[in-house]
Protein backbone atom coordinates (compact mmCIF):
# COMPACT_ATOMS: atom_id res chain seq x y z
CA UNK A 1 0.00 0.00 0.00
CA UNK A 2 3.08 2.25 0.09
CA UNK A 3 2.67 4.43 -2.97
CA UNK A 4 6.13 5.13 -4.45
CA UNK A 5 7.19 8.42 -5.98
CA UNK A 6 6.01 9.23 -9.53
CA UNK A 7 2.93 6.97 -9.37
CA UNK A 8 0.84 9.96 -8.38
CA UNK A 9 1.12 13.34 -10.07
CA UNK A 10 2.78 16.15 -8.06
CA UNK A 11 -0.64 17.87 -8.01
CA UNK A 12 -2.28 14.83 -6.39
CA UNK A 13 0.60 14.57 -3.90
CA UNK A 14 0.18 18.25 -2.99
CA UNK A 15 -3.58 17.85 -2.45
CA UNK A 16 -3.10 14.77 -0.28
CA UNK A 17 -0.38 16.45 1.79
CA UNK A 18 -2.61 19.51 2.23
CA UNK A 19 -5.44 17.22 3.34
CA UNK A 20 -3.17 15.69 5.97
CA UNK A 21 -2.00 19.00 7.48
CA UNK A 22 -5.19 19.63 9.53
CA UNK A 23 -5.24 15.96 10.59
CA UNK A 24 -1.67 16.26 11.89
CA UNK A 25 -2.35 19.57 13.66
CA UNK A 26 -5.48 18.26 15.40
CA UNK A 27 -3.73 14.99 16.29
CA UNK A 28 -0.75 16.78 17.83
CA UNK A 29 -3.08 19.03 19.87
CA UNK A 30 -5.17 16.07 21.05
CA UNK A 31 -2.12 14.00 21.97
CA UNK A 32 -0.63 16.93 23.91
CA UNK A 33 -3.90 17.26 25.79
CA UNK A 34 -4.81 13.64 26.37
CA UNK A 35 -1.64 11.62 26.66
CA UNK A 36 0.66 12.21 29.65
CA UNK A 37 4.32 12.80 28.97
CA UNK A 38 5.31 9.52 30.59
CA UNK A 39 3.18 7.58 28.13
CA UNK A 40 4.56 9.21 24.99
CA UNK A 41 7.38 6.64 24.58
CA UNK A 42 4.61 4.04 24.23
CA UNK A 43 3.67 5.78 20.99
CA UNK A 44 7.19 4.98 19.81
CA UNK A 45 6.72 1.34 20.71
CA UNK A 46 3.36 1.38 18.91
CA UNK A 47 4.99 2.96 15.84
CA UNK A 48 7.66 0.26 16.04
CA UNK A 49 4.94 -2.43 16.03
CA UNK A 50 3.37 -0.83 12.99
CA UNK A 51 6.78 -0.60 11.29
CA UNK A 52 7.48 -4.27 11.96
CA UNK A 53 4.02 -5.40 10.85
CA UNK A 54 4.61 -3.69 7.50
CA UNK A 55 7.78 -5.74 7.03
CA UNK A 56 5.92 -9.06 7.12
CA UNK A 57 4.99 -9.39 3.47
CA UNK A 58 2.34 -11.92 2.57
CA UNK A 59 2.10 -13.35 -0.93
CA UNK A 60 -1.15 -13.93 -2.83
CA UNK A 61 -1.59 -15.82 -6.12
CA UNK A 62 -0.68 -13.61 -9.05
CA UNK A 63 2.76 -12.63 -7.80
CA UNK A 64 1.75 -9.68 -5.68
CA UNK A 65 2.35 -9.14 -1.97
CA UNK A 66 0.85 -7.10 0.87
CA UNK A 67 1.13 -6.57 4.60
CA UNK A 68 -0.68 -5.55 7.77
CA UNK A 69 -0.34 -1.96 9.04
CA UNK A 70 -1.39 -2.13 12.68
CA UNK A 71 -3.10 1.28 12.64
CA UNK A 72 -6.30 0.06 14.30
CA UNK A 73 -4.27 -1.69 16.98
CA UNK A 74 -2.52 1.57 17.93
CA UNK A 75 -5.82 3.46 17.77
CA UNK A 76 -7.40 0.99 20.22
CA UNK A 77 -4.43 1.09 22.58
CA UNK A 78 -3.54 4.79 22.55
CA UNK A 79 -6.38 6.51 20.69
CA UNK A 80 -6.82 7.38 16.98
CA UNK A 81 -4.92 10.68 17.20
CA UNK A 82 -1.86 8.97 18.68
CA UNK A 83 -2.20 6.31 15.96
CA UNK A 84 -2.22 9.01 13.29
CA UNK A 85 1.07 10.44 14.57
CA UNK A 86 2.71 7.08 15.25
CA UNK A 87 1.95 5.65 11.80
CA UNK A 88 2.94 8.95 10.13
CA UNK A 89 6.36 8.89 11.81
CA UNK A 90 6.81 5.22 10.90
CA UNK A 91 5.94 6.03 7.28
CA UNK A 92 8.34 8.99 7.25
CA UNK A 93 11.16 6.78 8.46
CA UNK A 94 10.31 4.15 5.86
CA UNK A 95 10.31 6.74 3.09
CA UNK A 96 13.50 8.54 4.09
CA UNK A 97 15.76 5.70 5.22
CA UNK A 98 14.38 2.60 3.55
CA UNK A 99 12.86 4.00 0.36
CA UNK A 100 9.54 2.24 1.10
CA UNK A 101 6.87 4.64 -0.09
CA UNK A 102 7.74 7.87 -1.84
CA UNK A 103 8.89 11.16 -0.43
CA UNK A 104 6.51 13.17 -2.62
CA UNK A 105 3.69 10.74 -2.01
CA UNK A 106 4.27 10.80 1.76
CA UNK A 107 1.10 12.84 2.26
CA UNK A 108 -0.97 10.33 0.27
CA UNK A 109 0.48 7.37 2.16
CA UNK A 110 -0.22 9.09 5.46
CA UNK A 111 -3.77 9.87 4.36
CA UNK A 112 -4.44 6.20 3.60
CA UNK A 113 -2.55 4.45 6.38
CA UNK A 114 -2.23 7.04 9.16
CA UNK A 115 -5.59 8.79 8.83
CA UNK A 116 -8.25 6.68 7.10
CA UNK A 117 -7.12 3.33 8.50
CA UNK A 118 -6.92 4.12 12.25
CA UNK A 119 -9.95 6.41 12.31
CA UNK A 120 -12.21 4.02 10.40
CA UNK A 121 -10.90 1.06 12.39
CA UNK A 122 -11.36 2.84 15.70
CA UNK A 123 -14.85 4.13 14.84
CA UNK A 124 -16.06 0.68 13.79
CA UNK A 125 -14.43 -1.06 16.75
CA UNK A 126 -15.89 1.33 19.33
CA UNK A 127 -19.31 1.20 17.61
CA UNK A 128 -19.42 -2.61 17.76
CA UNK A 129 -18.10 -2.86 21.30
CA UNK A 130 -20.65 -0.29 22.52
CA UNK A 131 -23.54 -2.22 20.92
CA UNK A 132 -22.53 -5.75 21.92
CA UNK A 133 -23.45 -7.10 25.33
CA UNK A 134 -21.44 -10.30 25.08
CA UNK A 135 -18.08 -11.00 26.65
CA UNK A 136 -15.22 -10.45 24.23
CA UNK A 137 -16.98 -7.63 22.42
CA UNK A 138 -13.73 -5.67 22.35
CA UNK A 139 -12.05 -8.41 20.40
CA UNK A 140 -14.91 -8.71 17.90
CA UNK A 141 -14.90 -4.93 17.49
CA UNK A 142 -11.14 -4.89 17.00
CA UNK A 143 -11.32 -7.67 14.42
CA UNK A 144 -14.08 -6.05 12.34
CA UNK A 145 -12.59 -2.57 12.81
CA UNK A 146 -9.12 -3.55 11.68
CA UNK A 147 -10.55 -5.46 8.69
CA UNK A 148 -12.69 -2.54 7.55
CA UNK A 149 -9.95 -0.02 8.37
CA UNK A 150 -7.34 -1.63 6.12
CA UNK A 151 -9.89 -2.10 3.34
CA UNK A 152 -10.94 1.57 3.54
CA UNK A 153 -7.26 2.53 3.27
CA UNK A 154 -6.79 0.20 0.30
CA UNK A 155 -9.89 1.68 -1.36
CA UNK A 156 -8.45 5.20 -0.99
CA UNK A 157 -5.10 4.09 -2.41
CA UNK A 158 -6.89 2.40 -5.33
CA UNK A 159 -8.84 5.58 -6.10
CA UNK A 160 -5.66 7.68 -5.93
CA UNK A 161 -3.97 5.28 -8.38
CA UNK A 162 -7.04 4.93 -10.59
CA UNK A 163 -7.73 8.61 -11.22
CA UNK A 164 -4.20 9.28 -12.53
CA UNK A 165 -4.72 8.09 -16.14
CA UNK A 166 -8.01 10.02 -16.28
CA UNK A 167 -6.40 13.28 -15.21
CA UNK A 168 -2.83 13.22 -16.47
CA UNK A 169 -1.93 12.17 -20.03
CA UNK A 170 0.88 13.23 -22.34
CA UNK A 171 0.46 14.56 -25.89
CA UNK A 172 0.38 11.00 -27.27
CA UNK A 173 -2.53 10.19 -24.95
CA UNK A 174 -0.49 7.87 -22.73
CA UNK A 175 -0.76 8.01 -18.96
CA UNK A 176 2.02 10.11 -17.37
CA UNK A 177 1.91 8.50 -13.96
CA UNK A 178 0.11 5.36 -12.78
CA UNK A 179 -1.04 3.72 -16.04
CA UNK A 180 -3.96 1.76 -14.54
CA UNK A 181 -7.46 3.18 -14.34
CA UNK A 182 -10.09 2.53 -11.68
CA UNK A 183 -11.30 -0.58 -13.52
CA UNK A 184 -7.95 -2.23 -12.77
CA UNK A 185 -6.72 -0.51 -9.61
CA UNK A 186 -9.91 -1.12 -7.59
CA UNK A 187 -10.04 -4.91 -8.00
CA UNK A 188 -6.25 -5.22 -7.87
CA UNK A 189 -6.01 -3.44 -4.53
CA UNK A 190 -9.23 -4.69 -2.97
CA UNK A 191 -9.08 -8.41 -3.83
CA UNK A 192 -5.86 -8.78 -1.84
CA UNK A 193 -7.05 -6.69 1.07
CA UNK A 194 -10.54 -8.22 1.26
CA UNK A 195 -8.89 -11.64 1.53
CA UNK A 196 -5.39 -12.30 2.86
CA UNK A 197 -4.06 -8.85 3.77
CA UNK A 198 -7.25 -7.97 5.64
CA UNK A 199 -7.00 -11.27 7.46
CA UNK A 200 -3.35 -10.53 8.31
CA UNK A 201 -4.38 -7.18 9.78
CA UNK A 202 -7.10 -8.90 11.86
CA UNK A 203 -4.69 -11.57 13.11
CA UNK A 204 -2.02 -8.99 13.96
CA UNK A 205 -4.45 -6.62 15.71
CA UNK A 206 -6.33 -9.27 17.67
CA UNK A 207 -3.16 -11.22 18.49
CA UNK A 208 -1.28 -8.25 19.93
CA UNK A 209 -4.40 -6.89 21.64
CA UNK A 210 -5.02 -10.20 23.43
CA UNK A 211 -1.35 -10.35 24.37
CA UNK A 212 -1.46 -6.82 25.79
CA UNK A 213 -4.70 -7.49 27.69
CA UNK A 214 -3.17 -10.56 29.25
CA UNK A 215 0.29 -9.25 30.10
CA UNK A 216 -0.19 -5.52 30.71
CA UNK A 217 -3.86 -4.57 31.06
CA UNK A 218 -2.93 -1.05 32.30
CA UNK A 219 -1.43 -0.06 28.99
CA UNK A 220 -4.52 1.44 27.38
CA UNK A 221 -4.83 5.21 27.55
CA UNK A 222 -8.29 5.06 29.08
CA UNK A 223 -6.38 3.95 32.17
CA UNK A 224 -3.68 6.54 31.63
CA UNK A 225 -3.65 7.62 35.27
CA UNK A 226 -2.31 4.19 36.11
CA UNK A 227 1.25 3.58 37.21
CA UNK A 228 2.30 1.97 33.93
CA UNK A 229 4.57 4.47 32.24
CA UNK A 230 7.34 2.25 30.95
CA UNK A 231 6.99 -0.25 28.16
CA UNK A 232 6.07 -3.55 29.87
CA UNK A 233 8.68 -6.28 29.58
CA UNK A 234 6.41 -8.81 27.77
CA UNK A 235 5.74 -6.18 25.11
CA UNK A 236 9.47 -5.57 24.69
CA UNK A 237 10.05 -9.31 24.34
CA UNK A 238 7.27 -9.57 21.75
CA UNK A 239 8.78 -6.69 19.78
CA UNK A 240 12.21 -8.30 19.94
CA UNK A 241 10.80 -11.63 18.77
CA UNK A 242 9.04 -9.93 15.85
CA UNK A 243 12.30 -8.18 14.86
CA UNK A 244 14.11 -11.53 14.79
CA UNK A 245 11.29 -13.05 12.73
CA UNK A 246 11.17 -10.24 10.13
CA UNK A 247 13.18 -12.20 7.54
CA UNK A 248 10.03 -14.33 7.17
CA UNK A 249 8.65 -11.35 5.25
CA UNK A 250 11.20 -12.12 2.54
CA UNK A 251 9.58 -15.48 1.79
CA UNK A 252 6.96 -13.59 -0.21
CA UNK A 253 8.44 -13.16 -3.66
CA UNK A 254 7.28 -10.45 -6.02
CA UNK A 255 6.39 -6.81 -5.61
CA UNK A 256 3.21 -5.41 -4.12
CA UNK A 257 0.69 -4.06 -6.63
CA UNK A 258 1.49 -0.43 -7.47
CA UNK A 259 4.95 -0.56 -5.92
CA UNK A 260 6.97 -1.65 -8.96
CA UNK A 261 10.22 0.05 -9.79
CA UNK A 262 10.65 2.16 -12.91
CA UNK A 263 12.26 -0.80 -14.70
CA UNK A 264 9.52 -3.24 -13.65
CA UNK A 265 6.37 -1.39 -14.60
CA UNK A 266 6.53 -2.13 -18.34
CA UNK A 267 6.85 -5.86 -17.64
CA UNK A 268 4.13 -5.70 -14.97
CA UNK A 269 1.46 -5.34 -17.66
CA UNK A 270 1.53 -1.66 -18.57
CA UNK A 271 3.64 -2.30 -21.68
CA UNK A 272 5.41 1.05 -21.38
CA UNK A 273 7.10 3.24 -18.79
CA UNK A 274 5.04 6.38 -18.19
CA UNK A 275 6.91 9.61 -18.97
CA UNK A 276 6.29 11.06 -15.49
CA UNK A 277 8.20 8.16 -13.99
CA UNK A 278 11.33 8.55 -16.09
CA UNK A 279 11.55 12.30 -15.51
CA UNK A 280 10.24 12.36 -11.92
CA UNK A 281 11.93 12.46 -8.52
CA UNK A 282 14.37 9.64 -7.80
CA UNK A 283 15.26 9.70 -4.14
CA UNK A 284 18.22 7.54 -3.08
CA UNK A 285 17.44 6.06 0.32
CA UNK A 286 20.20 5.00 2.72
CA UNK A 287 19.02 1.38 2.93
CA UNK A 288 16.80 0.92 -0.13
CA UNK A 289 14.24 -1.90 0.16
CA UNK A 290 15.47 -2.71 3.68
CA UNK A 291 18.74 -4.10 2.36
CA UNK A 292 22.46 -3.40 2.39
CA UNK A 293 24.04 -3.92 -1.03
CA UNK A 294 26.05 -7.13 -1.24
CA UNK A 295 24.72 -8.61 1.98
CA UNK A 296 22.46 -11.62 2.44
CA UNK A 297 18.93 -10.30 2.13
CA UNK A 298 17.74 -11.71 5.47
CA UNK A 299 20.53 -10.03 7.39
CA UNK A 300 19.97 -6.64 5.78
CA UNK A 301 16.24 -7.00 6.45
CA UNK A 302 16.81 -7.76 10.13
CA UNK A 303 19.32 -4.90 10.51
CA UNK A 304 16.77 -2.55 8.93
CA UNK A 305 14.12 -3.76 11.38
CA UNK A 306 16.46 -3.11 14.34
CA UNK A 307 17.37 0.37 13.07
CA UNK A 308 13.73 1.24 12.36
CA UNK A 309 12.44 0.07 15.74
CA UNK A 310 15.26 1.76 17.67
CA UNK A 311 14.92 5.03 15.73
CA UNK A 312 11.15 5.18 16.32
CA UNK A 313 11.49 4.57 20.06
CA UNK A 314 14.28 7.19 20.29
CA UNK A 315 12.22 9.78 18.36
CA UNK A 316 9.20 9.39 20.63
CA UNK A 317 11.33 9.38 23.79
CA UNK A 318 12.89 12.65 22.64
CA UNK A 319 9.44 14.08 21.95
CA UNK A 320 8.32 13.02 25.43
CA UNK A 321 11.27 14.84 27.04
CA UNK A 322 10.32 18.05 25.23
CA UNK A 323 6.61 17.69 25.94
CA UNK A 324 4.93 19.03 29.07
CA UNK A 325 2.56 16.59 30.65
CA UNK A 326 -1.12 17.56 30.84
CA UNK A 327 -1.17 15.99 34.31
CA UNK A 328 1.62 18.29 35.50
CA UNK A 329 -0.08 21.34 34.01
CA UNK A 330 -3.42 20.73 35.63
Amino acid sequence: MHIPDNYLSPQTCAVMAAAMVPAWIVSVKKVKKEIPKEKLPLMGVAAAFSFISMMFNIPIPGGTTGHAVGGTLIALLLGPYAACISVSVALLLQALIFGDGGVLSFGANCFNMAFVLPFVGYAVATFISSRQKKKGKHILGAAVGSYLGINAAALCAAIEFGIQPMLFRDTAGKAMYCPYGLNISLPAMLIGHLTLFGLAEVVFTVGVLLFVQKTSPNLRTDQHRSETTQTPLPLRILLGALVVLTPLGLLAEGTAWGEWGENEIAAAGAGFTPSGMTSGLHYGALLPDYSVAGLPEWFGYMLSAVIGVAALIIIFKLISSAHRSPVAES
Binding site: P41, L286, L287, V292, A293, G294, L295, P296, L303, V306, I307, V309, A310, A311, I313, I314, K317, L318, S320, S321
Partner: protein, 237 residues
Protein backbone atom coordinates in the same frame (compact mmCIF):
# COMPACT_ATOMS: atom_id res chain seq x y z
CA UNK B 1 30.15 25.77 33.40
CA UNK B 2 28.12 23.39 31.32
CA UNK B 3 30.97 20.86 31.28
CA UNK B 4 31.45 21.21 35.04
CA UNK B 5 27.76 20.72 35.71
CA UNK B 6 27.91 17.53 33.62
CA UNK B 7 30.85 16.31 35.69
CA UNK B 8 29.09 17.16 38.93
CA UNK B 9 25.96 15.40 37.80
CA UNK B 10 28.02 12.37 36.84
CA UNK B 11 29.88 12.50 40.12
CA UNK B 12 26.70 12.71 42.14
CA UNK B 13 24.95 9.77 40.50
CA UNK B 14 27.39 6.96 39.85
CA UNK B 15 25.76 4.01 38.16
CA UNK B 16 28.41 1.31 38.32
CA UNK B 17 28.17 -1.10 35.43
CA UNK B 18 28.14 -4.85 35.92
CA UNK B 19 30.87 -5.23 33.31
CA UNK B 20 34.53 -4.36 33.83
CA UNK B 21 35.12 -0.77 32.64
CA UNK B 22 38.43 -1.71 31.01
CA UNK B 23 36.66 -4.29 28.88
CA UNK B 24 34.04 -1.78 27.81
CA UNK B 25 36.63 0.80 26.82
CA UNK B 26 38.56 -1.83 24.86
CA UNK B 27 35.45 -2.97 22.94
CA UNK B 28 34.57 0.66 22.25
CA UNK B 29 38.04 1.41 20.83
CA UNK B 30 37.95 -1.81 18.82
CA UNK B 31 34.57 -0.85 17.32
CA UNK B 32 35.86 2.54 16.24
CA UNK B 33 39.07 1.07 14.83
CA UNK B 34 37.28 -1.62 12.82
CA UNK B 35 34.78 0.91 11.49
CA UNK B 36 37.63 3.13 10.35
CA UNK B 37 39.20 0.14 8.58
CA UNK B 38 35.94 -1.07 7.03
CA UNK B 39 35.76 -0.65 3.28
CA UNK B 40 31.98 -1.11 3.11
CA UNK B 41 28.90 0.06 4.93
CA UNK B 42 27.87 -3.32 6.34
CA UNK B 43 30.00 -3.38 9.47
CA UNK B 44 29.29 0.27 10.20
CA UNK B 45 25.52 -0.18 9.76
CA UNK B 46 25.56 -3.29 11.98
CA UNK B 47 27.32 -1.42 14.79
CA UNK B 48 24.97 1.54 14.39
CA UNK B 49 21.96 -0.79 14.63
CA UNK B 50 23.19 -2.31 17.89
CA UNK B 51 24.14 1.05 19.40
CA UNK B 52 20.78 2.58 18.43
CA UNK B 53 19.02 -0.33 20.07
CA UNK B 54 21.05 0.24 23.26
CA UNK B 55 20.25 3.93 23.07
CA UNK B 56 16.53 3.25 22.65
CA UNK B 57 16.55 1.49 26.02
CA UNK B 58 17.92 4.56 27.85
CA UNK B 59 15.98 7.39 29.47
CA UNK B 60 14.91 10.41 27.34
CA UNK B 61 17.44 12.67 29.12
CA UNK B 62 20.28 10.32 28.42
CA UNK B 63 19.20 9.95 24.79
CA UNK B 64 19.34 13.73 24.44
CA UNK B 65 22.72 13.86 26.12
CA UNK B 66 24.09 11.17 23.79
CA UNK B 67 22.58 12.50 20.57
CA UNK B 68 23.66 16.12 21.00
CA UNK B 69 27.37 15.59 20.22
CA UNK B 70 26.53 12.92 17.65
CA UNK B 71 24.23 15.16 15.63
CA UNK B 72 26.62 18.11 15.90
CA UNK B 73 29.49 15.99 14.59
CA UNK B 74 27.34 14.54 11.81
CA UNK B 75 26.11 17.99 10.78
CA UNK B 76 29.60 19.47 10.49
CA UNK B 77 30.98 16.38 8.75
CA UNK B 78 28.20 16.49 6.19
CA UNK B 79 28.76 20.22 5.74
CA UNK B 80 32.51 19.85 5.19
CA UNK B 81 32.02 16.97 2.78
CA UNK B 82 29.25 18.63 0.82
CA UNK B 83 31.65 19.74 -1.94
CA UNK B 84 32.35 16.04 -2.64
CA UNK B 85 28.77 15.71 -3.90
CA UNK B 86 29.27 18.50 -6.41
CA UNK B 87 32.69 17.18 -7.43
CA UNK B 88 31.11 13.88 -8.47
CA UNK B 89 31.66 11.49 -5.56
CA UNK B 90 28.55 11.59 -3.38
CA UNK B 91 29.43 8.22 -1.86
CA UNK B 92 32.39 9.78 -0.05
CA UNK B 93 30.04 12.05 1.83
CA UNK B 94 27.71 9.26 2.92
CA UNK B 95 30.57 6.88 3.83
CA UNK B 96 32.48 9.39 5.95
CA UNK B 97 29.34 10.80 7.58
CA UNK B 98 28.17 7.30 8.46
CA UNK B 99 31.56 6.45 9.99
CA UNK B 100 31.59 9.67 11.99
CA UNK B 101 28.04 8.94 13.17
CA UNK B 102 29.07 5.48 14.31
CA UNK B 103 32.30 6.55 16.02
CA UNK B 104 30.80 9.49 17.91
CA UNK B 105 27.72 7.43 18.83
CA UNK B 106 29.88 4.66 20.32
CA UNK B 107 32.01 7.18 22.25
CA UNK B 108 29.03 9.19 23.38
CA UNK B 109 27.23 6.07 24.60
CA UNK B 110 30.33 5.04 26.54
CA UNK B 111 30.64 8.52 28.03
CA UNK B 112 26.99 8.53 29.08
CA UNK B 113 27.01 5.08 30.63
CA UNK B 114 30.36 5.28 32.47
CA UNK B 115 31.29 7.41 35.46
CA UNK B 116 34.62 9.26 35.55
CA UNK B 117 35.78 6.95 38.30
CA UNK B 118 35.17 3.97 36.05
CA UNK B 119 37.12 5.64 33.24
CA UNK B 120 40.22 6.18 35.39
CA UNK B 121 39.84 2.68 36.78
CA UNK B 122 39.67 1.32 33.25
CA UNK B 123 42.82 3.16 32.18
CA UNK B 124 44.66 1.73 35.16
CA UNK B 125 43.45 -1.78 34.36
CA UNK B 126 44.59 -1.30 30.75
CA UNK B 127 48.09 -0.60 32.12
CA UNK B 128 48.17 3.04 31.11
CA UNK B 129 51.22 4.84 32.67
CA UNK B 130 50.72 5.74 36.34
CA UNK B 131 51.41 9.39 35.71
CA UNK B 132 48.76 9.53 32.96
CA UNK B 133 46.09 8.00 35.20
CA UNK B 134 47.14 10.22 38.10
CA UNK B 135 46.92 13.41 36.03
CA UNK B 136 43.60 12.37 34.50
CA UNK B 137 42.07 11.51 37.86
CA UNK B 138 43.33 14.65 39.54
CA UNK B 139 42.16 16.81 36.65
CA UNK B 140 38.66 15.37 36.77
CA UNK B 141 38.38 15.65 40.56
CA UNK B 142 39.71 19.21 40.67
CA UNK B 143 37.52 20.30 37.79
CA UNK B 144 34.53 19.44 39.96
CA UNK B 145 35.95 20.95 43.15
CA UNK B 146 37.12 24.16 41.50
CA UNK B 147 33.92 24.36 39.49
CA UNK B 148 31.91 24.30 42.70
CA UNK B 149 34.28 26.86 44.24
CA UNK B 150 34.00 29.34 41.33
CA UNK B 151 30.26 28.79 41.27
CA UNK B 152 30.09 29.75 44.97
CA UNK B 153 32.17 32.91 44.36
CA UNK B 154 29.97 33.88 41.42
CA UNK B 155 26.87 33.45 43.57
CA UNK B 156 28.40 35.45 46.45
CA UNK B 157 29.47 38.30 44.16
CA UNK B 158 26.08 38.46 42.44
CA UNK B 159 24.27 38.58 45.82
CA UNK B 160 26.44 41.48 46.97
CA UNK B 161 26.02 43.61 43.84
CA UNK B 162 23.37 46.20 43.10
CA UNK B 163 22.00 46.97 39.65
CA UNK B 164 22.98 45.40 36.33
CA UNK B 165 26.54 44.21 35.88
CA UNK B 166 28.16 42.73 32.82
CA UNK B 167 29.81 39.68 34.37
CA UNK B 168 31.51 38.54 31.25
CA UNK B 169 33.75 41.61 31.12
CA UNK B 170 34.09 43.06 34.60
CA UNK B 171 34.06 40.21 37.12
CA UNK B 172 35.18 37.07 35.30
CA UNK B 173 38.89 37.93 35.59
CA UNK B 174 38.62 38.36 39.34
CA UNK B 175 36.70 35.12 39.83
CA UNK B 176 39.07 33.10 37.66
CA UNK B 177 42.11 34.66 39.34
CA UNK B 178 40.82 33.77 42.81
CA UNK B 179 40.02 30.25 41.62
CA UNK B 180 43.54 29.89 40.23
CA UNK B 181 45.09 30.98 43.53
CA UNK B 182 42.80 28.57 45.36
CA UNK B 183 43.89 25.76 43.03
CA UNK B 184 47.54 26.46 43.87
CA UNK B 185 46.74 26.24 47.55
CA UNK B 186 44.69 23.09 47.13
CA UNK B 187 47.37 21.33 45.08
CA UNK B 188 49.89 22.05 47.82
CA UNK B 189 47.48 20.68 50.43
CA UNK B 190 46.77 17.57 48.33
CA UNK B 191 50.48 16.92 47.91
CA UNK B 192 51.02 17.18 51.67
CA UNK B 193 48.02 14.94 52.39
CA UNK B 194 49.38 12.36 49.97
CA UNK B 195 52.79 12.46 51.62
CA UNK B 196 51.12 11.90 55.00
CA UNK B 197 49.29 8.89 53.59
CA UNK B 198 52.51 7.39 52.17
CA UNK B 199 51.58 7.87 48.51
CA UNK B 200 54.46 6.38 46.52
CA UNK B 201 53.16 6.91 43.00
CA UNK B 202 51.40 3.54 42.85
CA UNK B 203 47.85 4.20 41.69
CA UNK B 204 45.75 1.37 43.00
CA UNK B 205 42.16 0.77 42.03
CA UNK B 206 40.30 -0.29 45.17
CA UNK B 207 37.01 -0.52 43.32
CA UNK B 208 38.26 -3.22 40.96
CA UNK B 209 36.63 -6.61 41.28
CA UNK B 210 37.14 -10.09 40.01
CA UNK B 211 36.41 -11.26 36.50
CA UNK B 212 32.87 -12.72 36.41
CA UNK B 213 30.69 -14.65 33.94
CA UNK B 214 29.11 -11.49 32.56
CA UNK B 215 32.57 -10.17 31.75
CA UNK B 216 33.35 -13.41 29.97
CA UNK B 217 30.24 -13.04 27.82
CA UNK B 218 31.23 -9.47 27.08
CA UNK B 219 34.76 -10.64 26.28
CA UNK B 220 33.31 -12.90 23.58
CA UNK B 221 32.17 -9.73 21.82
CA UNK B 222 35.77 -9.07 20.79
CA UNK B 223 36.25 -12.18 18.59
CA UNK B 224 32.63 -11.77 17.42
CA UNK B 225 33.29 -8.20 16.28
CA UNK B 226 36.52 -9.18 14.54
CA UNK B 227 34.79 -12.14 12.85
CA UNK B 228 31.93 -9.91 11.71
CA UNK B 229 34.43 -7.42 10.33
CA UNK B 230 36.31 -10.02 8.28
CA UNK B 231 33.05 -11.63 7.16
CA UNK B 232 31.76 -8.28 5.92
CA UNK B 233 35.03 -7.56 4.12
CA UNK B 234 34.99 -11.01 2.51
CA UNK B 235 31.29 -10.76 1.56
CA UNK B 236 31.66 -7.41 -0.13
CA UNK B 237 34.81 -8.26 -2.14
Amino acid sequence: MHFISRLMENDAQPKPSKILPALRIFVCILCILLCALAKNAFFVVAVIAVELLRLALQTPNMIRQVLKPVLTAVFFTALFLLPAVFLGSPRTMSTVTLKVFESVLVLSMMNATMTWKEVTDAFRALHAPQIFVFVLDMAVRFLVILGRYSNAILEAVSLRSVGKTNWKTSQTGGILGTTFLKSQQMSQETSEAMACRCFDGEYKSYASRRFCTLDLIYLLLIPALIALFFYSEWMMK
